[in-house]
Amino acid sequence: MFEEYDEYRNKIREFALKEFTEEMAAEYDRKEEYPDELRKKSLSLGIIDMQNPAKVMIAIEELCRVDAGLGIAVTTPYFGSEVIMLFGNDRQKEILQDVYKGKYILGLAVTEPSGGSDVAGLKTTAMKQGNKYILNGSKMFITNGAIADYLVVLARTSEDPNPHHGLSTFLVNTKSKGFNANKLVDKLGVRATNTAELQFNNIELNEDDLIGEEGKGFYYIMMFFNISRIYVAAQSLGIAIGALDRIKSYIKENDIKDEDSMFRLSDVGTHIEATRQMTYNAASYLFEFKPKPELTSMAKAYGSETAVYAAESAMEMLGDKSLYEDVQRIFRNAKIMEIWEGTSEIEKLVIARYILKGE
């Protein structure tokens, strides 16, 4: 699947191996800083092509294979762009073009301190007053939160007995009066990415800041998750392959032949192949505009477990050697896969719902 992108894949691999040096990956991991120069470089070299989701998926996989912290950092400045691409107005799409050109950084703000998985239970409001919406509330664990120029924000615009109704998405300029971002530090992994807690205090939004139709925000975000979860599956796949690369090198360099190691290697390889098939299969439906959310959730849930399994296997197989290799960074990076863009528990609920619906 996706063999037509082999040349592109090789280009990304070459870029990652050249630019994501161990020194750089370790430095940004240690400092917990966003590698903005790397973002600009990746743009100038045409590493990211947001017009082509298959390319985005492949880039994410190959970049995360070398280092997930840097890989995710250079592929997230466009986070949330699909919501604008699909539902935004002309002005918003112009801003999006500037995001693609590297002038702006974008982010998506959905999760709140009181609840991550329960999207419809969010408390942020954007109530209409005259021809303005007044945004109030707070968001948590927002990727790019403290470095974004614009954020796609989900907020409640009306009360409705059905909690999925009455939610809307807005494009919020982070220079707006009443916006505050607090960078969160001391993450376990993906420390080159920026994560923040946000506060919105009476931010005035214009009607043309509304993305798409009022009251349809929940559905827009669920549609977005269908796409972003494929990308998380690709992150997971890249991390798992990266862990396997380290295991293979270790086995070869140390001439390890014991059967226990061979069985573990075989198990990790099998999990990775299953993840690859599931991810590319789900992506093939999505990229033809026929998304199958259950396949996407399966790929995301299984892929994230594979990333963690492969990373833990690398740690255990390399033993004390893993402690001063980049393997420990792979281990720390892998864990977030099971948490963001829907925890494994949420994915399992989605999968179960669709299986029953299929009956």
Binding site: G116, D186, L188, D258, L323
Partner: protein
């Protein structure tokens, strides 16, 4: 468990609540003040003989101390373990035995090295030179080098911190030997020392399991999603309940009559899974140091990576078959 053991357990727990600020320990390391407190309570020299100012406690008491402390601070428990289960048996019967007085009173810092090999060090007229990468322990005056032989190396050393993912309170670092260090003793007894450590290591693992799990149980008791407490969701509470069963069985086995090989195996096979799920149960908050649960996951995989590998599984299999096995 005997009454005196329960009293010890409560005493250690109270000490931890009062004196061990784990977030501070993770960021600043185990301070001299904490070390002095551990020494004054007799925890630091738990098994060291009385003639060296140690507490000379039995195994059960020692393991209770390790378990209770590891619930709060795996780093502090590991420091105590290094002194009592690695340093003490390494220097026992050697000219370095007298240094145990300093060890028990907190005046001697000991580092452990499992990674470097004999050829990383050069010896010239009894003096050592070279660099030992990623040694567990900071500002040490003595290093236990576990390679072909178990060697005790005496400083002074050059030292530089490394960023490290596990046991941050102790810190890992690179140690430079600059023609000043000497070998005090060298014997091949790594195997026997580590085998005798199965009980204490299991106690630390049990404490970590207990600490991580309790955080997950506490969090899922108060955190709501979709209008319900997290504990109201079967997959979450069932899983945590199963882990508590494992913890309980492990504790009974450790302090009971169970074979240390099997206790150690159960501890090592459970610790990463339970720590990992305890992070999961916290959602996004679990990924941040502030909630104090991700450290158990980091420490768990480091512990498993250092102390439990192919060699330990081979020993276990040979223990089960009661004979030497010619593995293919």
């Amino acid at each position: 468990m005997k009454e005196e053991n329960n009293i010890l357990k409560e005493t250690v727990a109270e000490f931890c609540d009062k004196n061990l600020d784990e977030k501070k320990i993770e960021s600043e390391g185990i301070t001299h003040g904490i070390t002095e407190l551990l020494a004054s309570q007799g925890f630091l020299g738990a098994t060291i003989p009385g003639k060296y100012s140690g507490s000379e406690l039995d195994n059960t008491s020692y393991e209770i101390i390790l378990e209770e402390i590891a619930k709060n601070s795996p780093s502090v428990a590991m420091k105590i373990f290094i002194l009592n289960s690695l340093y003490y048996p390494s220097v026992k019967g050697t000219s370095a035995e007298t240094t145990l007085s300093d060890a028990a009173s907190g005046k001697l810092n000991v580092a452990v090295d499992f990674i470097n090999r004999a050829n990383d060090i050069k010896e010239n007229a009894g003096k050592l030179s070279g660099t030992l990468i990623n040694v567990l322990g900071s500002d040490a005056e003595k290093i236990i080098l576990f390679n072909e032989n178990t060697s005790i190396i005496s400083g002074p050393f050059g030292y530089s911190d490394r960023d490290f993912m596990g046991f941050r309170g102790i810190k890992f670092g690179d140690i430079t030997l600059d023609n000043t260090a000497t070998v005090l003793d060298s014997k091949n007894r790594k195997g026997e020392i580590l085998e005798a450590s199965y009980g204490p290591l299991s106690a630390i693992a049990l404490g970590m399991i207990s600490g991580a799990l309790q955080k997950a149980i506490d969090y899922t008791s108060v955190r709501k999603a979709f209008g319900n407490y997290l504990k109201d969701f079967e997959p979450i509470s069932f899983r945590l309940a199963q882990f508590r069963s494992t913890e309980s069985v492990l504790r009974s086995a450790l302090y009971g009559e169970a074979d240390p090989y099997y206790v150690f195996n159960l501890a090592m096979e459970s610790i990463v899974e339970i720590a990992r799920y305890s992070v999961n149960a916290h959602g996004g908050y679990g990924y941040f140091q502030d909630f104090g649960v991700e450290k158990f996951y980091r420490d768990a995989i480091v512990m498993k990576s250092i102390f439990y590998g192919n060699q330990e599984l081979r020993k276990l299999a040979e223990h089960v078959y009661s004979e030497k096995i010619n593995f293919v």
